[in-house]
Chain length 340, copies 2
DNA sequence: TTGTAGGCGTTATCAC
DNA sequence: GTGATAACGCCTACAA
């Protein structure tokens, strides 16, 4: 049988209340009793019972805020689905969720939403814009006692408690790893990135180069162009890329604009098949996989990102678990049509 | 606030005990009260609180038995790790785990272990040999009230409640999907399978052929040989395969013997790189990935299989949840060295 | 500074 | 058949 507060209380000859005060650092305990209780609890290997905690936590009425740059982005639809699923599971514990979505990368707008949502909640799940202002806003909310979790994009220097998402460097490494076996280790690659201003995109390119240098001396990057995650722009820049480099035989698409880039490839109707590695599985991307335009795409577990973020919030707020892992990194998975 | 048994009791003007009897089909309730309570509960959308259930379940002292053909198989080391991890988490609810491992595919031995373990437990997690005797033993245990979950291999016709594992057909489809992009849709493939007696291996081949026919008219299987999951045998049969078919340029390894097959490929030192797709990530397989002998390997989430099986047992036994999904299928993931 | 008691939701055990 | 009551482990008022 497991150790309970009650048992510790009996052994220490104090009341359950006192043990609770010690174990949860509520103060108002004589130092001697405190250290004694702590010693016994330690000795017996006390582990709080999550069910008991959860039951008692019902009265707390916990609200979790969510701010995501998700509108028009199918990736985040999945993240939200994960959050909603977890919400369902946690309503029994008095947890509510408050979601605010936004469209573009407007720092002021995100700050405003963070303030609006943050002032009503115990925790905030956030897909932050990489900007100093946002970092400060995070810190400010944390100071006010909000438990902040970043998803998909991290701001390491902020006071946020956790990050849930993928490792972008490894995403690039994985992309090069699979590109290597796709091309027999010999390729002239055009890179269509989202923006040089987005850290994640740059990290993917860095990871790609890292594996290139270490493992594939015959893979070469011809040029890197920006699509601003826009299909029309992607179409144009990819077209130019293809025209400029007739020898190009592979594309590495680090971000959005996948469909536009693919359409450019289709429009040029080259003899040789151009190998394409992309990210995520937006409907358009899946369509291009079906048409065998894209060879593989790399998947970042969006649903799990949402779910996991909620789990972390829950176990902190409801079960009072200390955060052990500051970063929860999900694998970069390689997908073909068959295992999507 | 959510609906509780207490609230329903108040509304129906009965005691909580009566509501509990109705909702858990314990009998000894007047039919009128029964249907009335049921109606109200339905109407209000009653959902039992898992924490409450878990707390009350502590007295039950649940024991989960595990019988795995795991010895000498790194895949199952991971499954066991998943089970152990879940065990830790569930000890707080009075759940104990009893693991028995075995070595080869000895039906009598497995039957004996199933009986030995099965007679002391409330649930059994089993990696079954595909044999009628095992099926009967499962049914027998189920009749005796044991909750049976199969992992990694299923026996569909048995009375087991759940299966946790991968979809073998899809495993083969995925293998062909990635083989297609590896080879530009043009390959002469040798298949090294484990045994024609093992359903899962045959299903992988079937899935592979399915995608071949639908999508890759230029991929062709030259011959299928058996390795009996043994490296030495795999070495020999692969060697013969390579000698018999100089035009062979790809290997599909459906099961064990991966290392032996790779060594055969290395020993023949062909000019052209032979593309290899295998399953799982045993240490030897990882080594061959590192040496760029194997191009990709397909991963079946062994850790998650163990964890999920425990989760299912827990939510059934402790939370009394009805089983909604009879099969919990994990994705076949494509791995290169970089995203292992 | 410490103890007591009631409640979170469910269930098992009595007593009626 | 049914109801009352005491757990399960934890937390929070309030009383001392």
């Amino acid at each position: 049988m497991s150790i309970t507060i009650k048992k510790i209380a009996e052994i220490c000859n104090v009341s359950r209340g006192t043990v609770d005060r010690v174990l949860n650092n509520r103060g108002k305990v004589k130092p001697e009793t405190e250290s004694f209780v702590r010693k016994i609890a330690e000795q017996m290997g006390y582990e709080p019972n999550p069910a008991g905690k959860a039951l008692a936590a019902k009265k707390k009425n916990i609200v979790v805020g969510v701010v995501l740059i998700s509108e028009g982005n199918p990736f985040f639809d999945e993240v939200i689905r994960g959050i909603r699923e977890a919400e369902k599971e946690y309503t029994a514990y008095g947890v509510r969720v408050l979601i605010q979505t936004m469209h573009g990368y407007d720092v002021e707008e995100q700050c405003r939403l963070m303030e609006e949502v943050g002032s009503q909640v115990n925790a905030l799940i956030l897909n932050p814009i990489s900007d100093l202002k946002i970092q400060h806003k995070i810190d400010q909310l944390v100071e006010r006692g909000v438990f902040v979790v970043t998803v998909n994009t991290d701001i390491e220097n902020s006071k946020r408690s956790c990050y849930v998402g993928s490792d972008y460097i490894n995403g690039g490494e994985t992309a090069c790893g699979i590109m290597g076996v796709l091309t027999g280790g010999r390729a002239k690659v055009g890179v269509v990135t989202g923006s040089f201003k987005v850290a994640g995109h740059n990290q993917r390119i860095a990871g790609f180069k890292k594996v290139m240098e270490k493992k594939y001396s015959q893979i070469e990057i011809l040029e890197i162009v920006e699509s601003e995650d826009d299909d029309i722009l992607a179409f144009e820049v990819t077209n130019r890329l293809l025209q400029a480099y007739p020898q190009l035989d592979a594309l590495f698409i680090t971000a959005g604009g996948v469909y536009g880039a693919c359409r450019a490839v289709l429009s040029q109707a080259r003899q040789q098949h151009i190998k394409i590695v992309s990210f995520d599985s937006a409907p358009n991307t899946v369509e291009m996989l079906k048409q065998q335009v894209i060879d593989v795409t790399i998947y970042q577990h969006p649903y799990t990102q949402g779910r996991k973020a909620m789990q972390i919030v829950f176990s902190y707020l409801v079960n009072g678990l200390e955060i052990k892992k500051e970063k929860h990194i999900l694998k970069n998975e390689i997908k073909v049509l068959e295992n999507l």
